[in-house]
């Protein structure tokens, strides 16, 4: 076995040094009745050639020949090869959490850069070193808001990603906090009147998508003003972080906390994971922040260096009183996003966002030429819901042609009759004008 370097002679010498008669005898502390006395029932070992052939066959059963027209929380974007090649540097790739800062300055400085990118994109003052994903980041933000305000009601827009809301519900079952869901209007934005009614002196957090699940740029400033008046924390949620290259930073619009995923930068689709979740907040809330954070300091000789800091909030020190139980996060994916954002830079990020905006307009025009109008009237970035008749049938039909057509919204909003024909589609820099035209015609059939 190529990963097991021991020769029989090594084993013999080592057992002798230990004073043990056999490998078997090393396990004598496990009572006989608890031992497994048969080989595990897993497939027989495969050599590398057979292994890769088998996995290639399996991978080929996925249909990925065209960039998907579905986003809905995971966005198809071009990842420059430089990102993955740098990511594969073994010093990054095969390192553990930077508990020993002297030999982890590479990871630590990169995390500090990640934290800076997150604050630049969100317009907030502090970012942690990453979260598992956008949905858990949102749940953690809600819990943080309950601690910050000492209140227990979380108000969330129905236009926030349904899976994110499902995760929030799962997390809040055992804390006893209340979730109030506020409807959306025909413009696809959160119903501000309903929001005003829902937000009161018991409200810990107001949660809005930016852009929201329908791709609509939601009424963040208005919602934040309502929340502020009630003393609640405003949380903005962003799944498509490229949008932050064109849209004003949520922190500038009144959000106190910004969460989401940086999947659009460096991660690729990977069937939904891993990607780096992010959580940014105002400086005065950092004692309640979940997860690791990296800070700058100096070494014994006065040179700048980086360490994990403020760790007394975390589980390994505060144990049952920790702000969260999170330990492992998504550090490597944070590095991927950091490399990708460094390559894009100031001009590139804005350009990428503009190209996405334009491609989505090409999609809108192409769909309109086929007779498919928009479901919502609110402003959008690169994703929008079209009225296509029977959306589920369209998805099923295009699947046969190897095209992922979009997300049929009725699947997530079965109670809302308006959603029957709604198909949520995305267009990014990967969708060429020709492909977009072809797609719109295929939807028509």
């Amino acid at each position: 076995m190529r990963y097991h370097p021991h020769t029989p002679e090594d084993v013999r010498q080592m057992l002798e040094a230990i004073g043990a008669p056999s490998l078997e005898s090393l396990f004598r502390s496990i009572p006989e009745g608890l031992r497994l006395r048969r080989p595990l029932d897993v497939p027989a070992a495969a050599d590398e050639i057979a292994l890769l052939a088998e996995l290639s066959r399996l991978a080929a059963r996925n249909r990925v020949e065209h960039p998907p027209f579905v986003g809905a929380g995971a966005y198809p974007h071009h990842v420059p090869p430089a990102v993955d090649q740098l990511l594969l540097r073994g010093e990054f790739f095969t390192a553990y959490t930077p508990y020993q800062p002297e030999v982890s300055q590479g990871t630590l400085q990169a995390l500090f850069e990640w934290q800076t990118f997150v604050t630049l994109l969100t317009g907030l003052e502090v970012s942690n070193a990453s979260m598992y994903d956008g949905a858990t980041a949102m749940a953690e933000a809600a819990l943080m808001a309950t601690r910050l305000t000492d209140r227990s009601k979380v108000v969330v827009s129905a236009a926030v990603h349904p899976s994110y809301r499902a995760v929030l519900a799962t997390y809040l079952v055992s804390t006893g906090d209340e979730i109030v869901t506020v409807p959306y209007g025909d413009d696809g934005r959160t119903d501000l009147q309903a929001l005003a009614q829902a937000v009161d002196g018991k409200t810990a957090a107001v949660i809005l998508g930016y852009p929201n699940f329908f791709g609509v740029v939601d009424a963040l400033p208005e919602a934040a003003a309502l929340a502020r008046k009630a003393g609640a924390v405003t949380v903005s949620v962003t799944s498509e972080a490229v949008a932050l290259g064109l849209l004003e930073a949520p922190g500038k619009l009144g959000a106190d906390v910004a969460v989401g995923t940086m999947q659009s930068f460096g991660a690729g689709l990977q069937f939904g994971g891993p990607a780096a979740g992010f959580l940014a907040l105002r400086q005065d809330a950092i004692r309640q922040m979940p997860g690791r954070v990296c800070g700058a300091t100096v070494d014994k000789q006065g040179r700048r260096g980086f360490v994990l800091t403020l760790s007394t909030r975390e589980q390994h020190i505060r144990r049952e009183k920790a702000t969260s139980n999170i330990c492992t996060n998504a550090g490597l994916m944070a590095l991927a996003a950091t490399i990708h954002l460094s390559l894009l830079g100031k001009k590139g990020l804005h350009q990428l966002a503009r190209v996405n905006f334009e491609r989505a307009r090409l999609l809108r025009d192409a769909m309109q030429r086929q007779g498919f109008g928009l479901r919502f009237t609110g402003p959008t970035f690169n994703e929008m819901a079209f009225e296509v008749g029977d959306a589920a049938a369209v998805v099923a039909r295009l699947a046969k042609q190897g095209v992922a057509a979009g997300a049929p919204l009725a699947r997530w909003y079965p109670q809302d009759a308006r959603m029957k024909g709604a198909l949520l589609c995305v267009a990014t820099e990967l969708h060429t004008p020709e492909l977009i035209e072809l797609f719109a015609r295929s939807v028509k059939g």
Binding site: M14, D47, S56, P68, Q100, S174, S239, K300, M333, T380
Partner: protein, 522 residues
Amino acid sequence: MANPTGWKPSMEKESGSGGTAGDVGAGGATRGLAYEEPLVFEHAASERVGASLPAVTGKVDPAKEIPAALLRGEIEGMPSLAELDVVRHFTRLSTWNHGIDTGFYPLGSCTMKYNPKSSEAAARLPGFAAAHPLLPDEMCQGSLELMFKLERALSEISGFAATTISPAAGAHGELTGVMMIRAYHLARGNARKKVLIPDTAHGTNPATAALNGYRTVEVKSGPDGRLHPEAVKAAMDEEVAAIMITNPNTLGVFESDIAAIAEIVHAKGGLVYGDGANLNALLGVARPGDMGFDVMQFNLHKTFATPHGGGGPGSGPVAVKASLVPFLPLPLVVQEGPAYRLVTDPKERPQSIGRLREFHGNMGMFVRAWALIRELGPEGLRRCAELAVLNANYVRARLRDVYHLPYETDSLHEVVFTDKLQKGADISTMDVAKRLIDHGFHPPTVYFPLVVSGALMIEPTETEAKETLDAFVAGMRAIAEQARSDPDGLHAAPQKPVRARLDEVRAARKPVLRWTPGMKVE
């Protein structure tokens, strides 16, 4: 701005880290070309671009559709670098890091074994890497089949009825497991109030219990480092929802009374949670499901060698007994004839605790873990446990005359020493750890578990060869010797890395958590 890192040319000499020819650590550490590297934001402002993108046509104007207050242009502070600038920046940063690919990484309880390169190739197959998580089932049969097979294999390896693979990491798996425990009790009319946690447990255990609204009760381990049935019996009552046990525990010791403990807990209606952080020691040798555990989380990055990448991603599948299957979170993959289907609708699983991820879990990690399981096969999996335990015991045998061994009890995959024998010379575990760096080794886990004062927790894993262990032992012995002959030299360690000991107090008292223009840290 020219030299924001604080490095001065004279420093190499001052720090004695010039790396003369004879100055080679036991692990072969020297100094090569080393670069100071500013933050990516501190590179001279330029108009360079590092990305190749389609041009903006300018045919549509965002301001016509989106209110002006919600728009912005280029973000001030973002870097403006060419591709080579960025490539050099991150390549240089990487050289400031230690990884398994560079050297020995005996971080106890973290199981830093070699991360196979073929697993990387597999995860990068376009069919896996480019699949959107919302593809219709018929378009993603490959991913679903792999998830299904991995779930089956993990259930078999651990001895449980079923496994959810969606949790994001070990601690997330713990959260999932305790949520299922809570749901199980609730379905019987009472969620109960307490969770028992041994004093050797990882901090994630009490934090997880608290997140679920449980009060934690600590159970002391015995003088042999094991949990004793009497201690559990004394703490156990009908308010206790579960006990969380890591087996082998964080001392590397097998909880040999686990069956009796499980009986005590079950007799009062409680459940036994298994923290699978140390599962590597048991692969193919024994299964938690056969010992009385009701639920257990895996850490794929530990046991199945998915890369940890400086802090994550992980993947924390959770295996359960039949009694907990109805509570498994969504989604789940089921096999229906020749096809696989993703179950996402709560109506199909009315007792499910719900969803824990925006999508299905860390697929990239599933592919890697499955690739390793396939290459190892049943014999290879068992061999992992055997060699991991052999390696830990070899280190134990070769160091026990120079470092204090707080527990005589048999070690499995890891061994815990302390700094008790060095204390006389005012040498602490931290000094030993930092000096190991100069020898070319990543330090072991230090000051954990909390029940051992000055703990040094060493886990070599099975992928390390005898020569590596011999070199590590030589380094550790040299340090024990230096503690007697030159304690001051130890306090000054490490000398060789790009940074000396860092001021953690300063970092915490005056937190600087992001770059700002003109930033100075002195």
